[in-house]
């Protein structure tokens, strides 16, 4: 009468660790007082900026891979990407945000980044 459902693994701990990361069981509720609201807004804005920055970076890498860029162009891209990354580091410090915090959980779509 009982279902013959099996769950078989030789590495319980390893799977517990990984699956819990995915299920992300930490509460996501945000406490809405004014300090947190500010931080919450900064987080949202910076998350989107990070997304764009990463997209641009990836795009740049693809172009370099494609071999269509001159040395000067690579230099130019490098400068810009460097400045962007440093600026983001600054902003993260100012708002006391860590990399892991700059992500959005989109429900069925998973995480933004």
């Amino acid at each position: 009468m009982t279902m013959n459902r099996t769950i078989e693994t030789d590495s319980q701990e390893a799977f517990i660790e990984e699956i819990e990361k995915v299920q992300d069981v930490l509460p996501k509720r945000i406490d809405a007082n004014s300090k947190n609201v500010e931080k919450g807004l900064a987080k949202l804005v910076l998350t989107l900026v990070e997304l764009i920055r990463k997209l641009l970076e990836k795009q740049a890498m693809r172009r370099i891979e494609g071999g269509s860029l001159s040395e000067e162009e690579i230099e130019g891209i490098g400068e810009t990407l460097m400045k962007l990354e440093n600026k983001m580091k600054e902003l993260k410090e100012i708002f006391g945000l860590k990399d892991e915090e700059l992500n959005l959980n989109l429900g069925p779509l998973g995480d933004l980044m």
Partner: protein, 299 residues
């Protein structure tokens, strides 16, 4: 009275055509009564030729619903023994019976389609952990050449037209080189993951009817796969896992099943809210354009 829904079944037992669906309040034709969340009796609410399996949710029980996932699963699996059942997501509660019937009407075609498609089938789960750090290190060792320009050697080995000269170094160039290295390593890592997943999937591909593969949910969790398997081929499927398990590899496996077909419900109806639909669609397209889309569903 609020009703908690466990799943959807055909109210005519498979293979036998009966003109009258189960009477409401009966125990759905099962031999013994089932009790559900908060000890409430499980019964069915029929709609046309399907039925929603429910139990009533008292206010006290509602407070504790978060502890009930095991009960929920127990009931769904008990139903699975006797019927093809479309399992409801945990904590699906309706304010009134009328709301529930409204839902049944809205999704009727979807439910019928899914019940037919999933007839006599079960789901198996396959999770794989791979040594991500070792793999990455191996890739890094190949591409990171301390004496030369990693970029140039990559170009050579992949025969691209690109040739970065190191005639004039600059912080920007160094930055780009490092980023590019990361990019190439990541790319190779992804490709290695795909190769590995392909090998694992090949064990099950020909036995399963459908599959859903989630790749690299974390760096180490290489694969989270769900396979839809005909009940009659269960043992064949389990044997395939035995073969995979015994094949020499540095992979770790978590094999589970049979489960109700949670991962293979296809609903064509979307909630009426326009915002919900557009945002998801838009984001999917944006991410796909930039190559960020993960293969959440695979053919």
């Amino acid at each position: 009275m609020k009703v908690y829904a466990y799943g959807i079944i055909n109210s005519n037992p498979e293979g036998i055509v009966l003109p009258i669906p189960f009477k409401e309040g009966t125990n759905s034709g099962m031999d013994e009564p089932l009790s559900g969340l908060g000890e409430a009796s499980v019964y069915n609410i029929p709609y046309r030729d399907i039925a929603v399996i429910v139990s009533e949710l008292s206010d006290e029980a509602k407070e504790k619903t978060d502890t009930y996932i095991l009960e929920h699963e127990r009931i769904v699996e008990r139903l699975m023994e006797s019927f093809t059942v479309l399992p409801m997501r945990f904590l699906t509660v309706f304010n009134t019976k009328e709301d529930l019937l409204g839902m049944a009407e809205l999704y009727y075609e979807d439910f019928k389609d899914n019940l037919a498609r999933l007839y006599n089938k079960v789901e198996f789960g396959m999770k794989v952990i791979w040594p991500a750090d070792t793999i990455k290190q191996r890739i890094v060792d190949v591409y990171h050449k301390p004496e030369g320009d990693g970029l140039a050697s990559y170009s050579q080995s992949h025969k691209t037209k690109h040739n970065v000269s190191i005639s004039t170094e600059s912080p920007a160039k160094t930055f780009v080189k490092e980023k590019f290295q990361e990019h190439i390593i990541e790319k190779e890592f992804q490709e290695e993951a795909n190769r590995c997943i392909q090998v694992v999937d090949d064990y099950f591909n020909r036995i399963a009817c459908e599959k859903k593969l989630k790749r690299l949910q974390t760096e180490s969790l290489l694969l989270n796969a769900s396979y839809l398997v005909d009940k009659d081929r269960q043992n064949e499927f389990k044997q395939a896992f035995e073969q995979l398990k015994n094949a020499p590899s540095d992979l770790k496996f978590l094999f589970s099943g049979p489960w109700p077909c949670y991962n293979f419900i296809n609903l064509t109806k979307k909630p009426s809210s326009v915002d919900y639909f557009n945002t998801e669609d838009m984001l999917n397209r944006l991410l796909a354009q930039q190559g960020f889309a993960q293969e959440r569903n695979s053919v």
